[in-house]
Amino acid sequence: MTDSQLKEVLLRLGDDTLILAQRLGEWCGHAPILEEDIALTNISLDLLGRTQNYLKLAGELYKPTKSDDNLAFHRDPEEFTNLLLLEQPNGHFGDTICRQFLFDNFSLLLTVHLASQEVNTDIAAIAAKAIKEIRYHVDHSSKWMLRLGGGTSESHEKIQGSLDKLWQFTDEMFEIDEVTSAAVESGLFPDLTTLKSRWLDNVMSILTEARLSILSNTEMKYGGRNGNHTHHLAEILEVMQVLPRTYPGTTW
């Protein structure tokens, strides 16, 4: 794997958690119950910690080097490499939980591999630290999927709607392109087809228990990895970047 491919891998890891962290942060003070307000923002914080770790490493591969803050605040939408799934709006609570559930399960499987590979020890250390946090997140989003799917007919209908809406963005997690191929070949990434089938097993076991079903003939959406985003990303960045862009170099 070349340095530029490694940089791309790190950017993708960091951008995924950064954009999802920012989305979850939007719930601060707005969640349906206090406990969930705390839960979603706690998860956001964990994701932000991982973002800093990954983007710091990515920044070291730029010439001249860039800081994690610089990468987060001074890139435009087309330079972001996050999954389309993660930039989708929070919607109602079920939409947020469903998005989280689909990503958490992917993130756990990928991170377990990243922690055990020996190609890049810096990434392994970040991943080892993150595993327990992600298990906690999986536990949280899975329990809510069960509760909402098996709850009232209204909650069931709503969460099924969330799943129908978000399913089209799931295959992008396992997209094979030049960067992921190189990462798989070097051993940094696991085989993506195997990863996908393991993810599907885990996700389906919860969905089945929650009496939820997936659409069989969904046309999958891709593009996030190449900077082709839905218009939602620009909205996120506008809020996230306004302060450092208006007052460059400001501190508090």
Binding site: E35, I43, A125, K132
Partner: protein, 166 residues
């Protein structure tokens, strides 16, 4: 310079660090929390090795600053290095420290982090740190900081926090 003098400086820095508290648990030192991993001398300065409890723990920056402030009293060139590996675990919190936590109203982590069921605290008996009742209930797997879950006591009705076992 690895000699008697540098050894003395390292020991002095270690003593200074005994007063650095975890800002989120201000009755515990960073040593007791297992966040202070090492202190050693390199070339011409002391290096303090710290590890964060959670990836996104905002206290890490404050702890780094407080450690530097304390250490630079004896070694103006002291530096902090953040180490991610091995990942921090509640297994590094001693029994004595767990007792101290409980005395301060926080239910300490129970058992070892190797037991997966202990992760959230759900399904295990977390005694109330106030009245010691064993009849308690988890309200949320999350709490005021990344490291805690929220519980309530069914006997004395007090809400309390449980330090998650990770």
């Amino acid at each position: 310079m690895i000699n008697a003098e540098s050894h003395k400086i390292v020991e002095a820095v270690k003593r200074q660090l005994e007063d650095v508290m975890d800002p989120e648990l201000p009755f515990l030192t960073i040593g007791e929390m297992g966040m202070l991993r090492d202190v050693y001398y390199e070339e011409d300065h002391t290096v303090i090795v710290l590890t964060p409890t959670y990836s996104g723990c905002p206290a890490t920056d404050i702890i780094s600053e407080d450690s530097l402030k304390a250490a630079r009293v004896v070694d103006p060139k002291a530096e902090v290095a953040i180490s991610m590996s091995p990942a921090w675990t509640t297994d590094w919190i001693s029994e004595e420290t767990r007792t101290k936590m409980e005395a301060n109203g926080i239910a300490p982590p129970i058992g070892s982090s190797n037991d997966r069921a202990f992760l959230t605290g759900e399904g295990k008996m977390v005694p109330c740190p106030l009245c010691k009742s064993k009849s308690t209930k988890m309200v949320s797997a999350f709490g005021s900081t990344a490291c805690k879950a929220s519980f309530t006591c069914l006997d004395c009705s007090e809400p309390f926090e449980h330090f998650k076992c990770i």
